[in-house]
């Protein structure tokens, strides 16, 4: 089975801190995604990557950046955390072949609180 592992289930940080959320997948998937999930808003795409060192902005990239130095690891960075970035963050991966016909595999999420 595909395993997508997010480094922390719960994280509490302070306003203005630089925050790193890590995600690792073990199935050699080309595509990796970061979403945030808020009540009543569903999942919103922050960034995605289709190859090492490649990234594309999603729908809500402001205040975030990403890093993909190795195929299996995709990091989300909050440059200067703010309280409106308190949310559940979900990482996902999928195969490249067939484009969006591939299912996404999700990690269990990181619930991030910014105080």
């Amino acid at each position: 089975d595909v395993k997508v592992t997010q480094s922390s289930r719960y994280l509490v940080k302070r306003t203005g801190e630089k925050v790193f959320l890590e995600c690792v997948q073990d199935m050699d998937h080309e595509n990796m995604f970061w979403y945030r999930q808020d009540p009543g808003l569903g999942l919103r795409l922050i960034y995605f990557s289709y190859d090492v060192k490649m990234k594309e902005k999603g729908d809500i990239p402001e205040g975030y950046s990403v890093s993909r130095e190795k195929k299996e690891r995709f990091s989300l960075i909050l440059e200067s955390a703010s309280t409106n970035q308190t949310s559940m963050y979900l990482c996902a991966s999928s195969l490249l072949g067939g484009g969006s016909n591939q299912p996404q595999h999700f990690g269990d999420g990181t619930r991030l609180s910014i105080l």
């Binding site: 997508v4 595509n31 979403y35 009543g40 808003l41 569903g42 999942l43 919103r44 795409l45 995605f48 289709y50 999603g58 729908d59 979900l90 996902a92 999928s94 490249l96 484009g99 969006s100 016909n101 299912p103 996404q104 595999h105 999700f106 990690g107 269990d108 999420g109």
Partner: protein, 111 residues
């Protein structure tokens, strides 16, 4: 917002009954996928239906797609308490790796 919407937002049924959830999407899709999310966990892929398909089955799941109405429905037959979860549809257009998720339906199956 490009997000689709699920209907109803919440659904409560007795074990053994059928549960139907509907999804309205916005784009010209290549395919539409359904996912389940248990409380506090990530999403799990359930089923994918392509734009040229009208119906698809997987075990107790039945998905229909009406591209003229830009809608899809997920039917869970003979529901179980373990089906209690949130269910999301995700639309994807041609030539993109992006998925647009709906806002979800919270299903509660009472034992």
């Amino acid at each position: 917002s490009q997000q689709g919407e699920e209907d109803p937002q919440a659904l409560s049924i007795q074990e053994g009954e059928n549960a139907t959830m509907n999804c309205s999407y916005k784009t010209s899709i290549n395919n539409l996928q359904w996912y389940r999310q248990n409380s506090g966990r990530g999403l799990v892929h359930l089923i994918l239906i392509r734009s040229n398909e009208r119906e698809k089955h997987s075990g107790r799941l039945r998905v229909t797609l009406d591209t003229s109405k830009k809608s899809s429905s997920l039917l869970i037959t003979a529901s179980r308490a373990a089906d209690t979860a949130s269910y999301f549809c995700a639309e994807s257009g041609a030539g993109t790796y992006k998925y647009i998720f709906g806002t979800g339906t919270r299903l509660k199956v009472l034992a």
